[in-house]
Symmetry: D2
């Protein structure tokens, strides 16, 4: 890409990886399992996580300095989503993607 | 819509109105005028404004409590975008949409 | 907005109304009801409908002639979503929004 | 990800790569160069390409069979965008990303 530091490239990558993981996990695994997986609070958190990851990547790609604020919010939602997916269980790949994204977003938000 | 207070309905409406105004203004008027209108900082701000408005509306429609944070960021970007569009001139409809959106987002973020 | 025919303005409006209706209905009513409402095929169709409506509105706002193709696809998904929401029942506002959107998208796609 | 064939995984990857390339190229390189790069038709095509790539990836991640139609449209816009970026010149990375995305989308649309 263009004009982006290595750290930002890495953050765009982890945001888009987490977006993919949360969205596909929610719309396939969670819908098919039901029960805890489609409880409104859990499911909404996963969809909010997918959306903020998508938006944070978009802000960095646009090149706007406001990415610092979307990255801060992204890190917060990812931490919450990782914890909730761990509680529900059987969602390790989502927990991992959320944690990696939170870490790189925290660096960008600093 | 569903489960939304009157204040939230109003905020979704102003966010989507501002998204439409900023995006279509940037992609038609600004691109056709050129000069100040396509200076990178101004154009990126308009596109960032369109995107955060779209995302804030999405968060309210999803029903996630994190909408408070996206609304706070939305209000900040809208204020900045309104000021910059006023400086460039000949963009009254965009200035107005940004200010209305900022006001309703500030209420939601409180 | 800018440079848009009355017919296009109307179509952007019906697309964004349908996006709001499908997204908020799925993420509040459907998640809370469960059963038929969170069956994977039905839920995915509602989310696909929300997304194509959002994208078709975006294409018209950008001013790209490719909106004809997204509008054609939008009309098709809206028709299918209206029929499925009618089958599941208790989702009249969503059925109506999908039908209105399909009608205006069909005109834009012609 | 979940439930996706190798071919679909590859297509999601090329769509998100092309989305990143078109969006960041338009919002940094093109805005900074001006001239041919911000001519409305060229710039709108790049933004339409970024958006349809984002949407096609989203459809595949959701798991909706309608991804075939968004992939077909995505392939068409990517081909057009590749040709236009080649004409303007100095945008090889964008031309390549568009061609790779068009190829994998054509397979998914078949």
């Amino acid at each position: 890409m263009h004009h982006q530091s290595e750290e930002m490239k890495r953050c765009i990558e982890t945001c888009l990886a987490c977006y993919q993981e949360c969205l596909s996990m929610a719309m396939t695994h969670c819908l098919e399992m039901g029960g805890e997986h489609t409880k409104p609070d859990h499911f909404r958190l996963m969809m909010a996580c997918a959306e903020i990851c998508r938006t944070s990547a978009h802000f960095m790609l646009i090149g706007t300095p406001h990415h610092k604020h979307t990255c801060r919010e992204c890190a917060e939602i990812c931490r919450e989503c990782a914890a909730d997916c761990e509680r529900v269980g059987d969602m390790e790949s989502c927990v991992d993607a959320c944690r990696r994204c939170a870490e790189s977003c925290e660096k960008m938000a600093a």
